[in-house]
C-alpha cells in the first residue's frame, strides 16, 4: 500500500500539451478517479504513473520516492488495460503465474498464490482457458488476478469497464469497488463515465484539456461543481443566462428573461452583471406550488413531456430559454399536457451561480 504524489506534471506530444501542470496527492488505500472526456489527458497521466510514457516535466512520487526515472518493470505497479491484454498464447494459469515466475518464486509458492488469486476473483476452474475462450468479464477478472497476485503497491485501471455490456458493467462496478476496499489497495481509476466515478471513488479529479478542473468527493463534485465545465460534464444541468438584479449577504435575485429568481450568492458578483445559473433537472419539482421561504415557484408553459422509464422529463419555456425538469415516475403523478401551464418550484440554494 502506498500513497502517490504527482507534482507539477506535464506532458507534451510534439507541440501538443496533453497533460498540463497536474499536482495531486493520492492517499494510501484511496480509490481515486481521473474523470474526463476523451483527450483530456487522463490516460496519459495514468500511463506516466505506470512508466509507459516518459516523465519529462514534473515528478511522480510513490511513498515519497521519485519514480519518474524508473522503468515500468521497476515500479511494482499493477496496470489493468481497457482491453485486458491477456497474453493470448498462455492459458489463464500461466497468465497469472507470469509475474511470479519473473520473481523467481518456488513452484509451490507460485501454485498456491495463483490458486488463491483465482479464488479471489472467482475464476477457479478456468486455469486452462485461453483468452479467446473467455467473455470480456472473465478476462477482466483474470487481468485483475494477474496484477493482484504480484502484490503491487498501487493499482491502475484504465477504463476497465468500457468494453463490457451495460448489465455486466453495473455488476463489475460494485465488484471491483468491493475487491478494492477489502484489499485496501491504493487505486487510480481512469474513466469517462461519471456514473462509474461517482459510484466507486473516494475522490474524483475531473479533468479537461490536460488540467484538473476540480478535485473532490463524489458528492462535492456533483453538488458543488466549481465551473461550467464540471457542471455540464457531471450529470445534467440547466444552464440559464441571467442578469443580477439584487445582491444581499444571504442571497441574490436574478432576472432570467423577465422572471425573477432567487439564488445563493457567489463571491464577486455585481448588480446588473450577466451571469449563469446552473440548476439540476431533478431538483425542479413539477405540479405543486411551493409557497415557502427560500423557494422559487412560478407557473411556466410546458413545451414537451418525454416518458423515459424511471422518470418523466418536462421541457418548459422560460422566456426565450428552456428549463428541463426530471420527475421520478410515480403512479400517482400528474402528467400535464404540452401547451398547458404547470407550477415549477425549486429550493433557491439548489441553484448555483457559476463562473464561465
Amino acid at each position: 500500500m502506498a500513497n502517490v504524489k504527482l507534482s507539477e506534471l506535464s506532458k507534451y506530444y510534439g507541440k501538443n500539451l496533453a497533460v498540463d501542470n497536474i499536482s495531486v496527492e493520492i492517499m494510501e488505500g484511496e480509490f481515486f478517479s481521473l474523470l474526463g472526456p476523451s483527450g483530456c489527458g487522463k490516460s496519459t497521466t495514468l500511463r506516466m504513473i505506470a512508466g509507459f510514457e516518459e516523465t519529462e516535466i514534473g515528478s511522480i512520487e510513490i511513498d515519497g520516492v521519485d519514480v519518474s526515472g524508473l522503468l515500468p518493470e521497476q515500479r511494482e505497479i499493477g496496470f489493468v488495460f481497457q482491453n485486458y491484454a491477456i497474453f493470448p498464447h498462455m492459458n489463464v494459469y500461466d497468465n497469472i503465474a507470469f509475474g511470479l515466475r519473473l520473481r523467481k518464486l518456488s513452484a509451490n509458492e507460485i501454485d498456491s498464490r495463483v490458486r488463491a488469486a483465482l479464488e479471489q476473483v472467482g475464476m477457479t476452474g478456468f486455469e486452462n482457458r485461453y483468452q479467446k475462450e473467455m467473455s470480456g468479464g472473465q478476462q477482466q477478472r483474470v487481468a485483475l488476478a494477474r496484477v493482484l497476485v504480484t502484490e503491487p503497491r498501487i493499482l491502475l485501471l484504465d477504463e476497465p469497464l468500457s468494453a463490457l455490456d451495460k448489465n455486466l458493467r453495473e455488476e463489475m462496478k460494485f465488484w471491483i469497488k468491493d475487491l478494492q476496499s477489502s484489499l485496501g489497495i491504493t487505486t487510480i481509476y481512469v474513466t469517462h463515465d461519471q456514473g462509474e466515478a461517482l459510484t466507486m471513488s473516494d475522490r474524483i479529479a475531473v479533468m479537461n484539456e490536460g488540467r484538473i478542473a476540480q478535485i473532490g468527493t463524489p458528492e462535492e463534485i456533483y453538488e458543488h461543481p466549481t465551473d461550467r465545465f464540471v457542471t455540464e460534464f457531471i450529470g445534467e444541468s440547466n444552464i440559464l443566462r441571467a442578469k443580477v438584479a439584487a445582491v444581499s449577504d444571504t442571497g441574490c435575485e436574478l432576472d432570467i428573461d423577465g422572471q425573477t429568481v432567487s439564488a445563493p450568492v457567489r463571491d464577486g458578483i455585481l448588480v446588473s452583471a450577466d451571469t449563469i445559473l446552473a440548476l439540476r433537472p431533478e431538483r425542479v419539482l413539477v405540479g405543486e406550488k411551493a409557497d415557502k421561504e427560500g423557494w422559487n415557484s412560478f407557473e411556466l408553459p410546458i413545451k414537451k413531456v418525454t416518458y423515459q422509464g424511471p422518470f418523466v422529463r418536462f421541457l418548459f419555456a422560460l422566456g426565450t430559454q428552456e428549463l428541463i425538469a426530471e420527475v421520478a415516475n410515480r403512479q400517482d403523478m400528474e402528467k400535464p399536457d404540452p401547451g398547458t401551464k404547470a407550477w415549477v418550484s425549486w429550493q433557491s440554494d439548489s441553484g448555483r451561480i457559476i463562473a464561465e
Partner: protein, 280 residues
C-alpha cells in the same frame, strides 16, 4: 390454410459463395494442379523419353534420380542453400520488420519500399546487378556459395518482411506493456510475449523463403559457383540436351519437399489451435 414454403425458404438455401465464383475457383485450382499431376505421372513413366501420357508406370526414373550424379547432388545443394537462406532471411526479415513497424521516422515508407523492391525487380536484373557488383567491388563473392546465398536472401527477405510486418501491425502493444508492468525487462518481454504472438507470421515467412530459395532460377543463373548446381538449373541444363524422365522424377522430389514443408507449417499452427480447444 395451405403453407407455402417456396420463395422465402428456398432463398435460405442459397450458397454463401455464388456459383460463378465457385466455378472460377475450381478452374483455377485445376490449372494450378494439372502441371503437378503431369510432372508426377511423367516421372513415373516406364518409357525411355519424357512424355505424357506415360507409356506405363514404374519407379525406373525415380531410381535413376536417386543414383544420378547430377540431380541428387543438385537436390542436396538446393536444399542446403534453401535452409541457410531461410535462417538468415528469417532473422534479418524479422528484425527489419520490427524496425519498420515500431519506429517512426521520415523516409520510413521509402525504406520499406526499398526492402520490398526485390519482389518487384525481375530476378534476372537482380542477379545481373549482383554479379556486376561482385565483380566490380572485388569482395570475393563472385560465383561462390556465400555469394549465391546473399542473392537468395535478397530475394526471399521481402516475404519474411511481409508476413512478419502483418503480424506486428495487428499486434496489441498493451500486451508488452502488461508484461513490463508485471516485471519483465525489454528482452524478456520480447522473448516471452512478442515473439510467441507473432510466431505464425515468422513461420509463414520462413516457409515462403525456403520454397522461393529452393525454386530460385534467375538469380542463381548469375551467381552459382562452378562446381555446384542448384536443382532448377540442373533440370534446365539437362532438358536442353536430353529429354530424360529423370528430370520429372527430380520434380516429384521437389514437389514432395514443398508439400512436406507446407504440411509441417499447417501442422504447427493447427496443433496450437488444437491445444487451445483441447484443454478447455
Amino acid at each position: 390454410m395451405a403453407t407455402n414454403p417456396t420463395p422465402a425458404r428456398r432463398k435460405r438455401r442459397e450458397a454463401a459463395v455464388p456459383l460463378v465464383i465457385r466455378s472460377l475457383a475450381g478452374l483455377t485450382l485445376l490449372i494450378l494442379l494439372a502441371p503437378m499431376v503431369i510432372v508426377i505421372l511423367a516421372g513415373l513413366n516406364s518409357g525411355d523419353h519424357l512424355s505424357f501420357p506415360p507409356e506405363g508406370l514404374s519407379f525406373r526414373w525415380i531410381i535413376a534420380f536417386l543414383n544420378s550424379d547430377i540431380f541428387l547432388p543438385a537436390y542436396g545443394f538446393s536444399l542446403v542453400v534453401a535452409l541457410i537462406t531461410m535462417v538468415f532471411s528469417t532473422i534479418l526479415g524479422t528484425t527489419i520488420s520490427i524496425f519498420l513497424v515500431r519506429t517512426r521516422f521520415v523516409g520510413r515508407e521509402f525504406m520499406r519500399a526499398f526492402f520490398m523492391s526485390p519482389l518487384m525487380l525481375p530476378g534476372i536484373v537482380l542477379g545481373l546487378a549482383l554479379y556486376l557488383f561482385y565483380i566490380s567491388s572485388g569482395i570475393g563473392l563472385i560465383r561462390t556459395i556465400p555469394g549465391l546465398i546473399v542473392g537468395h536472401i535478397l530475394v526471399t527477405c521481402p516475404y519474411v518482411i511481409g508476413t512478419v510486418s502483418a503480424a506486428l501491425v495487428g499486434f496489441d502493444t498493451s500486451l508488452e506493456e502488461a508484461a513490463r508492468s508485471l516485471g519483465a525487462g525489454r528482452l524478456q518481454t520480447f522473448r516471452k510475449i512478442t515473439l510467441p504472438v507473432i510466431a505464425p507470421g515468422i513461420v509463414a515467412g520462413s516457409v515462403f523463403s525456403f520454397i522461393v530459395s529452393f525454386g530460385q532460377f534467375d538469380v542463381s543463373l548469375f551467381l552459382t559457383p562452378p562446381n555446384s548446381t542448384p536443382l532448377p538449373m540442373a533440370l534446365y541444363i539437362s532438358l536442353r540436351y536430353t529429354f530424360e524422365p529423370t528430370a520429372a522424377a527430380a520434380g516429384i522430389f521437389a514437389i514432395f519437399l514443398v508439400v512436406v514443408s507446407m504440411l509441417i507449417t499447417a501442422k504447427l499452427t493447427n496443433l496450437k489451435r488444437l491445444a487451445n480447444v483441447n484443454f478447455s
